[in-house]
């Protein structure tokens, strides 16, 4: 087992202990869970909603939901999977509500230099150099700037590991359309990346 896998294994054990303690009402353990997962939840929310304040609001909402229901969490999936799906569901709902209320005329944020992107596992790998980091940042910028019909499926598929079927159910679009949009999104990323290079 290499260093990297050991690290993630320890994190997993740590996570299970914190969840178990939180289920018993240990507030300090829950706060530790917040510290461990807040960045992850916020990032997912920002990628979907493209708005700092809404992303913060969604993150708070997700953790309130988790706090209120953690006692009943059986742990059949990992805590990370559970919170990831909860975040996506919450944000998709917000997105639907926004498109209804604001008529899509919202000034959406882009990832700018102000948005500092950090890599959680990255720093441990020496293979991945500066160039790769910068390219990944550029890829994320391109994704965030994509149209909603391309952005949501590619985020769910490539960043959140959702299946085509799950994306189809979540977005209410046929599987064929989802696959086409993901393929097109990847093509757009490739083309825009060429321009960047």
């Amino acid at each position: 087992m290499d260093k990297y896998n050991k690290g993630s294994k320890y994190r997993e054990i740590d996570e299970k202990v914190l969840v178990a303690k939180s289920k018993k009402g240990d507030k300090a353990a829950f706060e530790e869970l917040v510290k461990q997962f807040s960045k992850y939840v916020y990032t997912t929310a920002f990628f979907i909603l493209r708005d700092t304040y809404e992303a913060e609001d969604a993150s708070q909402e997700v953790f309130v939901k988790v706090y209120l229901s953690i006692k009943g969490f059986r742990g059949l999936s990992s805590f990370k999977t559970w919170i990831r799906k909860l975040t996506v569901n919450t944000c998709i709902d917000k997105l639907r509500l926004r498109s209804k209320i604001k008529d899509k005329k919202v000034s959406l944020e882009k990832i700018t230099e102000e948005h500092e992107i950090v890599f959680t596992k990255f720093s441990q790998s020496l293979e991945i150099g500066f160039f790769n980091k910068e390219t990944v940042k550029e890829v994320l910028k391109i994704i965030v700037n994509l149209d909603e019909s391309y952005r949501i499926p590619i985020i769910l598929r490539d960043l959140q590991d959702y299946s085509y079927r799950e994306i189809s159910e979540l977005t209410g679009k046929p599987i064929g359309t989802v696959k086409t949009n993901i393929h097109r999104a990847r093509k757009m990323i490739k083309e825009k990346l060429k321009m960047y290079r």
Binding site: F30, E31, V34, K35, S38, K39, Y40, Y42, T43, F46, T52, A55, E56, S59, Q60, E61, F63, V64, K65, Y67, L68, S69, G72, F73, R74, L76, S77, W82, K85, L86, N89, D93, I111, H115, E116, I117, V118, F119, T120, K121, F122, I128, N132, T135, V136, K137, V139, L140, I143, D158, L159, D161, S163, R165, E166, R186, I189, K190, L193
Partner: protein, 114 residues
């Protein structure tokens, strides 16, 4: 397209650094949970919560998400069972015929000796 996949794979571990006090804001919100917050646990959430706590649902989802893998595993199990049944049949019939074959040459030898 391969290098795009490589970057997307790395991007999974990327997070945007939120404002410094997001943890504080969340913890503060949790410390002041009121009855109105319980409204957040709406029907949709309850539905998701029940599903995420159901072993049967999660297994069905796994099968639905990977139908190819499931079919391959089912076919493999089927062929293994057929193979085992076939082998058992061969061994049992060999035992029967083997017993007869062993007896006849020995009886021949007995007549030759005589």
């Amino acid at each position: 397209m391969n290098y795009i996949n490589k970057y997307l794979k790395i991007a999974k571990d990327a997070v945007i650094k939120p404002s410094k006090d997001i943890d504080k804001k969340i913890i503060d919100r949790i410390s002041h949970i009121g009855k109105s917050d319980e409204k957040l646990l709406d029907e949709k959430f309850i539905d998701y919560f029940k599903k995420s706590n159901s072993r049967l649902y999660l297994t069905i989802e796994k099968i639905k998400n990977n139908p190819g893998t499931f079919m391959a595993a089912a076919i493999a199990v089927f062929f293994i069972i057929v193979f085992i049944a076939f082998m058992i049949k061969i061994f049992s019939s060999e035992e029967k015929t083997g017993g007869k074959n062993n007896r006849s040459p020995s009886s021949k030898d007995d007549t030759q000796q005589d």
